[in-house]
């Protein structure tokens, strides 16, 4: 009875939210319904755990979830999912109650949920998925996650659950190490490509998750991800993953996997592992052959706000979103900018962390990143903006050998000031890294100007 009350209460909330704004409400109704029935997710009827996939990891959860959903739906499968990125228990509850009958029965071919790493054990306790895709476990949100081992210890018990099938990134040492806890593993990986890189000597690698000695990477396909070997215990990536993205052609926007040519909807290196994972999951979890999966790639549109283009006067602003406190996503953006040999302006809006109390001013993750290729490239000027940490950002560049004369610093996120500084650039090739909300303010401002 408690479940039905929670369900109906949640549905009533959804009804009201739909009247106000249909695009909202990915979390709220589930959050409120869980106040009535804390075990609500466990009480939905009609879910076969064999048909449930969780997607967890530091980076790439939302993209993988959206792409896998797209492939399955294009191939005629019905899926219940949390595509809006609400990846805590309330987000899963919301997705289920939106799709359920008045008695709490859900009907779909597959259930695919992005799950926050820290909440994976809590969600799994109520919804015992038998399939789990791990993208990577890296430094992220250190204010709440501390270090990767803190998260590793949180998620490890779920990996060991009986009957669990794991989809593991072959080239990320922590994710790959879970193949030691079960034999039911499918690995995915990426062949070396034109944007694979090595870091300058002096950059630390990481400790082996098995024996805590040194991991050596042959090269990186993404920061912290590439063929690896522990110099002590021999823990290593498989010479070849079960599913491999090969023949990566960024210019031609295509790659191959399982002998099939795929369109590359976004020719960005960090998405290659999402592509590999999606091909593996489509085949092994949903029985969709790579050739059929390939048909969906051409029409895939990712969740917004990762990499956007903004036209401003005669300039093109290429916006890249990073996860604050996350060196891997920052490194990826640095590599993209460094890979562009044209003259450019680089706008860096690293910000204080304001997503929980206390807010704080962490910028140390920038020292995990190698700016040398960018600094050696054709950069007209660097623009360090954002309140409080703009000076540290500028200092990081100076430590990389950037001429201080090339650096403009503004202790502000005011979009007028940002546009004014962009106006001063001779180049029309503008790269911008900052929070999504600052970018959205810029977008809004331009739309208002256009309307005038």
């Amino acid at each position: 009875m408690k479940f039905l009350l929670a369900l109906w209460f949640g549905k009533a909330i959804n009804f009201l939210i739909n009247i106000i704004d249909k695009t909202r409400g990915s979390n709220f109704s589930g959050e409120k319904a869980l106040l009535i029935d804390k075990q609500m997710v466990a009480h939905f009827k009609g879910i076969d755990p064999e048909k449930v996939l969780f997607i967890t990891g530091t980076n790439g959860k939302s993209t993988s979830n959206n792409l896998i959903n797209h492939i399955l739906k294009t191939n005629g499968k019905t899926v219940i999912s949390n595509l809006e990125g609400a990846n805590l228990l309330a987000g899963v509850a919301t997705a289920l109650l939106k799709s359920s009958s008045l008695l709490g029965r859900v009907k779909a071919d597959y259930f695919i949920f992005e799950t926050d790493e820290r909440f994976l054990p809590i969600i799994h306790a109520q919804l015992p998925a038998k399939n789990l895709l791990v993208t990577n476990l890296q430094k992220d949100q250190v204010q709440r996650n501390g270090d990767p081992d803190f998260i590793y210890r949180k998620v490890a018990p779920v990996m060991k659950k009986e009957g669990m099938r794991l989809f593991l990134n072959n080239e990320e040492p922590r994710a790959k190490s879970f193949d030691k806890v079960t034999s039911n593993v499918i690995t995915y990986g990426v062949e070396k490509h034109a944007d694979s890189f090595v870091k300058q000597e002096g950059f630390p690698t990481m400790a082996c998750p098995v024996c805590h000695h040194k991991i050596v990477f042959d090269h990186y396909n993404n920061d912290g991800v590439g063929p690896f070997l522990c110099t002590h215990c021999g823990n290593k990536s498989n010479p070849e993953a079960d599913y491999v993205v090969r023949d990566v052609d960024f210019a031609g926007r295509k790659f191959t996997a399982e002998g099939v040519e795929f369109n590359m909807p976004y020719n960005i290196p960090y998405m290659l592992y999402n592509y590999a994972a999606a091909v593996a999951v489509a085949k092994e979890f949903a029985g969709i052959e790579p050739a059929d999966a390939a048909k969906a790639f051409g029409s895939f549109k990712n969740v917004g706000g990762r990499f956007e283009i903004l036209k401003y006067k005669d300039k093109t602003i290429k916006y890249m979103r990073i996860k604050q406190e996350n060196p891997e996503t920052l490194q990826t953006c640095i590599n993209i900018m460094a890979g562009d040999k044209e003259k450019k302006m680089v706008c860096l809006g690293l910000c204080p962390l304001v997503d929980m109390i206390p807010n704080y001013t962490n910028t140390f993750y920038a020292f995990d990143c190698d700016f040398s290729q960018l600094a050696a490239g054709d950069v007209e000027k660097y623009f360090c903006f954002s309140e409080r940490v703009c000076y540290d950002t500028a200092n990081r560049l100076i430590y990389e050998g950037v001429d201080p004369e090339k650096i403009v610093i503004i202790d502000s996120e005011d979009v007028d000031q940002i546009f004014a500084e962009i106006d001063k650039a001779e180049t029309d090739n503008i790269y911008m890294i900052t929070w999504l909300h600052t970018y959205e303010h810029m977008q809004k401002k331009l739309k208002l100007k256009e309307a005038e």
């Binding site: 990767p148 630390p204 805590h212 962390l353 704080y360 140390f364 540290d392 500028a394």
Partner: protein, 255 residues
């Protein structure tokens, strides 16, 4: 002694094992400030494969923070050098240990799962791993080499520090060792054990300068003052202090 021969010999302990929070910046800061002093910092990476390690061969040893899971392996490797580390500290040389790696040089670390890590016992400190991480800014006055310095940094606290050593700093804002008093870190002669990330030597070049001078003095060079532009770091300090003074916090230890 000719100025060009000024050298600071630095050891960077386990850079690939104790690798979190961008702490390589501390070595970059040491190199940079040493250069302003007309000296060269020569940095050796010390890891499990290093042969013939002797702490007394160095003027400066840096131990960055790592995952506590790695500490047993690191402590086992360092144990044979405990006496040399004690001599290093006693001689007034500079050991900088940041974040979780204080556990390596302290007593017992009680882990959340009930297991323990036994450190080298160089400092009279014990540690309790926290169930929840605490991340925040950190602002305090520190004593080093007979001078007082204002320090700003970040703290990602994975453990509470029960220190019976002299504190390195007195907090103006931040969690420090336990979040219950104003004590931040520990100091023993010129060896610093601190919760401050940042990296501390990048954000606080005034401390780095004093460390460089101390290292050079310990190597027998005359103490010659030197200047360099710290305006960027000063602006950073000022704006962050404003930020800290106005922010919402649940800490009560500095009120």
């Amino acid at each position: 002694m000719a100025e060009m021969n000024k050298t600071i010999r630095a050891a960077w302990l386990f850079p690939d094992i104790l690798y979190i929070h961008g702490e390589r910046g501390n070595l970059l800061a040491l190199e940079r400030v040493a250069k302003f002093a007309g000296a060269e910092a020569v940095i050796d990476r010390i890891d499990f494969n290093t042969e013939g390690f002797d702490p007394m061969n160095y003027d400066f040893i840096f131990c960055p923070p790592g995952e506590i899971a790695s500490f047993n392996a690191v402590v086992e490797w360092l144990k044979p050098y405990k006496a040399q580390f004690e001599a290093f500290v006693k001689a007034g040389r500079v050991l900088l240990v940041t974040g979780t790696s204080q556990c390596i040089f302290g007593g017992i670390t009680k882990r959340e799962d009930g297991s323990t890590v036994e450190g080298l016992g160089l400092i009279d400190c014990d540690f309790n791993e926290r169930r929840l991480v605490y991340g925040d800014d950190l602002n305090y006055m520190a004593q080093f080499g007979g001078e007082e310095f204002e320090i700003f940094g970040s703290q990602i606290q994975m453990m509470d520090v029960e220190s019976r050593e002299e504190p390195f700093g007195q907090l103006m804002y931040g969690f420090g060792n336990t979040g219950k008093d104003r004590n931040e870190g520990s100091i023993k002669v010129n060896s610093i054990f601190t919760n401050t990330l940042g990296p501390i030597l990048v954000l606080n070049p005034w401390l780095t300068k004093k460390i460089v001078l101390t290292c050079l003095k310990n190597s027998g060079f005359e103490e010659e003052d030197f200047d360099f532009d710290m305006s960027l770091e000063l602006k950073s300090l000022e704006t962050k202090k404003q930020f800290t003074s106005g922010k919402v916090s649940r800490l009560t230890n500095c009120k």
